[in-house]
């Protein structure tokens, strides 16, 4: 046990903040991830996450906190995705690619300015790959607010989002306001991206959104249940990853592994372990698929 949980883990202030803020980010990202995958927007969420890099890099330059930077830039990119009319998913993917390219260009600019401007913080690695153990008490309230808002909005609009994902015409006929529904989902997604970027960095925040949600929808066929399962998996992977990152400092004599690496790896292990285990179970049952 003492090998698994190195001494001082739960007593450490940075660890406590990482567990709380990372936990909020994990739950929100995973829950928002489920309808995102159902709408076939994994790529769009990935693009928003990457584009938010530019916001994270810009934030210290203009003196706002990182979460605000991430969210605002993701919102700008998402706004463009919603505003430009597209006819189908393929066309949306094209647009997404273009917005992604432009956003990464801005990220290159701001990251470079962050290194070269006088008094620059040079937080490049933190923006890209997260600095979860550097989160402090003053990150708690913004994280709770953003996370709470995203969850409330998402749960309220869950049914219209699902119906619109099933078929937009069907949704319109039964009275769903498609634009509003899309905008609400997008707002939730940008909040989730911002929170995830705070935890594991803008590059890896996709993993927090896509991986647990993908595991959940493979494990359960029920929409409500898939949200709960995704939240549980996101939390387990994030807390497990934080623990491994903390332990790795001792295991490797001070050459600790980055927390983002540990978290993403834990989420992937959970995914392949659980979905692989499920396939094996079905196989052993004589190929009979039970859902």
């Amino acid at each position: 046990m003492s090998f698994l949980i190195q001494s001082g883990f739960l007593q450490s202030g940075p660890v406590q903040h990482a567990l709380i803020v990372g936990g909020i980010a994990a739950v929100v990202a995973a829950v928002v991830g489920v309808p995102t995958l159902i709408r076939g927007q994994a790529f769009a969420s990935d693009a928003l996450a990457h584009v938010s890099t530019a916001g994270g890099a810009l934030a210290p330059l203009i003196g706002v906190n990182a979460l605000t930077g991430f969210v605002l830039m993701a919102l700008a990119a998402g706004g463009m995705l919603e505003a430009v009319p597209v006819r189908d998913r393929a066309e949306r993917d094209l647009l997404t690619g273009i917005v992604l390219g432009a956003g990464l260009g801005l990220a290159a600019l701001f990251l470079s300015l962050g290194v070269t401007l006088p008094g620059a913080s040079g937080a490049t690695v933190g923006v890209l790959f997260g600095s979860v153990f550097l989160l402090g008490a003053d990150d708690l309230v913004p994280a709770l607010t953003a996370g709470g808002l995203a969850l409330v909005l998402l749960m309220a609009f869950l049914r219209p989002i699902l119906l619109a994902a099933l078929d937009p015409d069907l949704a319109r006929v039964s009275g769903v306001r498609l634009r509003l529904t899309g905008a609400v989902h997008l707002a939730c997604l940008t909040l989730a991206v911002g929170l995830a970027a705070m935890t594991v960095g803008a590059i890896l925040s996709t993993a927090l959104i896509v991986t647990p949600a993908a595991t959940a929808i493979a494990l359960t066929a029920r929409p409500g249940q898939s949200l709960l399962v995704a939240a549980g998996l996101g939390l387990a992977g994030t807390w497990g990853g934080l623990l491994i990152a903390y332990d790795s400092y001792v295991w490797t004599n001070g050459h600790a592994w980055p927390a983002s690496f540990c978290i993403v790896t834990a989420l992937c292990v959970l995914h392949f372990g659980l979905t692989g285990g499920l396939s094996l179970l079905r196989h052993l049952r004589g190929g009979k698929v039970r859902r």
Partner: protein
Amino acid sequence: MRDLPEAPPLAVEDLTISHRGRPILDGVSFALNRGELCGLIGANGSGKTTLLRAILGLARPDGGQIRFGGGRRGRIGYLPQKVHVDAYMPLRARDVVALGLDGHRIGLPLPSAQRQARVAAALDAVSAEGFADQRVGTLSGGQQQRVFIAHALVRAPDVLLLDEPLASLDPSIAAEIAALLRRISQQMGIAVLLSAHEVNTLVPVMDKVIYLANRHAVAGPVAEVIRSDVLSRLYGHHIDVLNVHGRILVVTAPDAGAGTAHVTLLP
């Protein structure tokens, strides 16, 4: 049950629709009564989907009127021509039907016995209980069709519009679904309008038929519409309607040009 309204649940008068200046339908009129099943027959591109979308308010007509028995476009059930559900979607057949009931509502869906009962009744009406808990995306085409019919039925509509519900089904399943729709329209008093490019399967169940060709429509009881003089006038060239061993055969003249009419066997 419900009070019988005076007006037919759906009446279309002199409807004209175009897409980007190109006329698609011109002067289409028909009316549907409660419990009636009406086939909307036409070749690919003849405007079946366009007509249904106009009735649903998804497409704006250039002229004419669409009237509903209740006065406003209230209770219409709809089955789009193609609904593609990926196999991984975490939606059971039951969830799809529940979304038909209150999928437009904002707010947390609270578990309610009444809601469950209505979903179960709709699944029962289309004999889909057997696969109600399977992922929709993993069901066969005919099974999915039943689920989406239940989705359209669950709000107890006055009018049910189905866009090619029988396409991609094998003949026996198609006949089964056609009979199912017949039963639903009669038992629930719903006016059902379903499109098809193949009239064969529908003849035993249809009360009325609307034929679309060359932007125009003829509508009326089957015996009045599927006749040589009526169809010839609609298609603009001679069309024979033959009676062969109790089956009806619609034949177009060989020199009339391909694609203007189609040969159709009617049992």
